[in-house]
């Protein structure tokens, strides 16, 4: 996993609630067996609308996506995160994120930052009125700030996840260090589990 410390850049305001993963990457593009190549299909249906914010050349190169409540709801498809990676998004700032989606984001080092609605409102209007306005998400200090330093708010993050993101640690290698504990747990199970290997 890539290391994350801070993300700085232009933000694109996707001012909608409940953006589901079917919008982020439609099911018909889930047939590939790779983790890359989903960017060209990100928000495919909405991109047909010339007024859709991601079609606005003013936001070209934005690496932060602003959104509302419950972003990433619906299907568990991690392809949604890979699609966002594919269009260069490195951090998401919104009111809330769907649980599975949020976990998927951490797996790829895509930062999700939850802020109160009024702070999201502020950032939305900032990017809407000035597409070139840069903001900075600082993971170490747990802050989101405008680049001129005039505005800054803190955010919360599970310390364990924060440390993993900062170190770019791979979850599986970390867990494999506890293999002996898992062996022990398995040996102490009092009753058998249904066995899928037996006909």
């Amino acid at each position: 996993m890539r290391q994350v410390s801070f993300v700085r850049g232009k933000a694109v305001p996707l001012n909608r609630a409940n953006v589901d993963t079917d919008q982020i990457i439609p099911a018909k593009h889930l047939k590939r067996v790779d983790r890359t190549g989903y960017g060209p299909h990100a928000f495919e249906a909405w991109r047909e609308d010339p007024d859709f914010v991601l079609n606005n050349p003013a936001y070209e190169g934005a690496n932060i996506l602003l959104t509302r409540e419950n972003f990433g709801s619906g299907s568990s498809r991690e392809h949604a995160v890979w699609a966002l990676n594919g269009i260069g998004i490195e951090a998401l700032v919104g009111v809330s994120f769907a649980d599975i989606f949020k976990t998927n984001c951490f797996q790829s080092g895509l930062l999700t930052v939850e802020l109160p609605p009024e702070d999201v409102d502020y950032l939305m209007s900032l990017s809407e009125s000035n597409p070139d306005a840069e903001i900075e998400v600082d993971l170490g200090n747990q802050t989101v700030a405008t680049i001129d330093g005039d505005w800054s708010v803190g955010f919360e993050i599970d310390p364990f996840i924060k440390s993993r993101l900062q170190k770019g640690q791979d979850d599986i290698s970390m867990t494999l260090e506890y293999s002996a504990d898992i062996d022990e747990f398995e040996s102490q199970r009092a009753h058998p589990l249904p066995n899928t290997a037996v006909e």
């Binding site: 709801s73 998927n104 310390p159 996840i161 867990t175």
Partner: protein
């Protein structure tokens, strides 16, 4: 200490590890928060997984990751695969017309074979939607932890199992370690009191619940469904309820096991036998939430007031009872107005239109929400010798090969086919539009599935969610009708 059902299952599956505790303290120290005791509430644990279900769409990258890292599948004997999301539901004996789908299925076959994982492959009669086959075979049992790279894994919660969807990286983690790193979710009780009225089904109950708590009301929570209405439901009805927990934003949904649960499980191929069965039932009886257990949030819904529901919008909370109308944006809270307007535009609906006046083009009966035998019986029961309305295309996609066989033994396929429905092979089909079963742009469907998102059933398609009975009735009438009002409502 009193515990909820969820807490009992959770505690039973935490892999205690002194090493992990040390690592966590180190993480806290590094983040400069070591002194913040409240952060200990955020404790991430290793949760052991008793059953890992995999399918062709969300597992290939996980197997590839294992291969690249030189890792193996820790417990193939606790892992079960099937192909369901992109399989054709017609003409399976012919070469797959979609080379990408064909390859994904082939990769699934190779991956499972290489790793010694059992696969219910496309021509296996036990093949079907992953959340239908687990319970059907008796793999799904009370008190277990079950995960799958699919958000509707919550379905298995109907048995009092803790079951939830995960992403592909987590699939890889489970394949390699049989555990997951998890923070403990909060608990929510949803109690449905009273007795259901005529024509009101489990589907209407869960649509009513989602309408009440909203599509993000359950974020960070595991819901336990309780109350007389839930207790009175069959296991298949309970699966319909738990299935759509994710549509309320919840991490999982579960229901305490009881005699209905045990009766449903008894004799299934993977259910315990003989003394093991008696011991298991004894153990499962300890699972229901203790009387004094408390929940982080409690919601009570009067079941006697629930009517058959139909969604009008583009998320599953945008629904009204069948006798309702398409809402006026100016009458909804300001915060929701814009999304209501967007939904109405996408759905091409005029505010104030009675739901019954909405005509449909397609009907889909199936999915992990409503593709079980009771769903097919209920839909067939509405047909009663009548025909699908002119201009409507209707299809039934059984949830598994065994559901299909059972339905054929009962003659349900004849009822559907005589009425003009197509009778297909098992799979996810038009629930998510990954195979050729999709809506054309602008087409409107009455669908027993779980999501009415924009384009979910095909680009530009418009989806209305409802129960199997309501879907069958809509197929016959060509528009939505109230099955609760008796046969007169459905035209001859």
């Amino acid at each position: 200490m009193s515990k909820t059902l969820f807490e009992k299952v959770w505690d039973e599956h935490v892999v205690d590890s002194p090493l992990q505790e040390a690592a966590r303290r180190e993480a806290l120290a590094e983040s400069g928060l070591a002194d913040h005791e409240e952060m200990l509430g955020e404790r991430q644990v290793l949760l052991y997984v008793d059953l890992h279900l995999i399918h062709e769409v969300t597992s290939p990258q996980a197997f590839e990751g294992l291969r690249q890292a030189g890792r193996s599948v820790r417990r193939p004997d606790l892992t079960l695969g099937t192909v369901d999301h992109n399989v054709p539901t017609i003409g399976r004996e012919l070469p797959n017309p979609d080379p990408l789908s064909a390859k994904q299925i082939e990769v699934m076959q190779t991956n499972t074979q290489d790793c010694g994982v059992t696969l219910y492959d496309i021509f296996d009669e036990r093949q079907g939607i992953v959340h239908i086959i687990g319970p059907e075979q008796g793999f799904t049992q009370p008190g277990m932890t079950i995960v799958c790279g699919d958000s509707h894994t919550s379905t298995h919660g109907a048995f009092g199992a803790l079951a939830f969807g995960i992403g592909t990286s987590e699939v890889e983690h489970v394949l390699a370690t049989q555990t997951l790193r998890q923070s403990q979710p909060k608990t929510m009780s949803v109690e449905v009191t009273g007795e259901l009225g005529p024509g009101v089904t489990a589907k209407d109950v869960i649509l009513a619940i989602i309408n009440e708590i909203g599509v993000h009301g359950g974020i960070g929570h595991v819901i336990e469904y309780r109350g007389e209405v839930i207790r009175s439901l069959s296991m298949e009805g309970r699966m319909t309820i738990c299935n759509m927990s994710i549509e309320a934003g919840a991490r999982a949904g579960l229901i305490a096991p009881d005699e209905t649960t045990f009766e449903y499980m008894r004799g299934r191929p993977k259910a315990p036998k003989g003394d093991d069965w008696d011991n298991a039932v004894e153990r499962w009886r300890q699972l229901p939430s203790d009387e004094n257990a408390t929940f982080d949030r409690e919601v009570v819904i009067d079941g006697s007031r629930i009517r058959p529901f139909v969604t009008w919008g583009t998320n599953p909370s945008q629904s009204v009872p069948i006798d309702g109308i398409v809402p006026h944006p100016e009458e909804v809270p300001v915060a929701q107005r814009e999304s209501v307007e967007r939904a109405l535009t996408y759905m091409n609906l005029t505010p104030g239109t009675p739901i019954r006046d909405i005509s449909i083009d397609r009907v889909f009966i199936g999915s992990c929400t409503n593709g079980r035998i009771e769903d097919l019986r209920a839909a067939a029961g509405v047909i009663d010798g009548k025909k699908v309305a002119n201009g409507v295309n209707a299809m039934v996609v059984p949830g598994s090969g065994l559901v299909k066989r059972q339905a054929e033994e009962e003659g349900l396929n004849d009822v559907f086919v005589a009425a003009g429905f197509e009778w297909r092979d098992a799979g996810c089909s038009m629930c998510l539009g990954m195979n050729p079963d999709i809506l054309m742009p602008g087409q409107r469907s009455a669908s027993t599935s779980n999501r009415n998102f924009e384009g979910r059933q095909g680009p530009g398609g418009r989806t209305h969610l409802l129960s199997p009975e309501m879907a069958a009735a809509a197929a016959l009438a060509g528009h939505f009708v109230d099955v609760g009002e008796g046969p007169d409502e459905v035209p001859a």
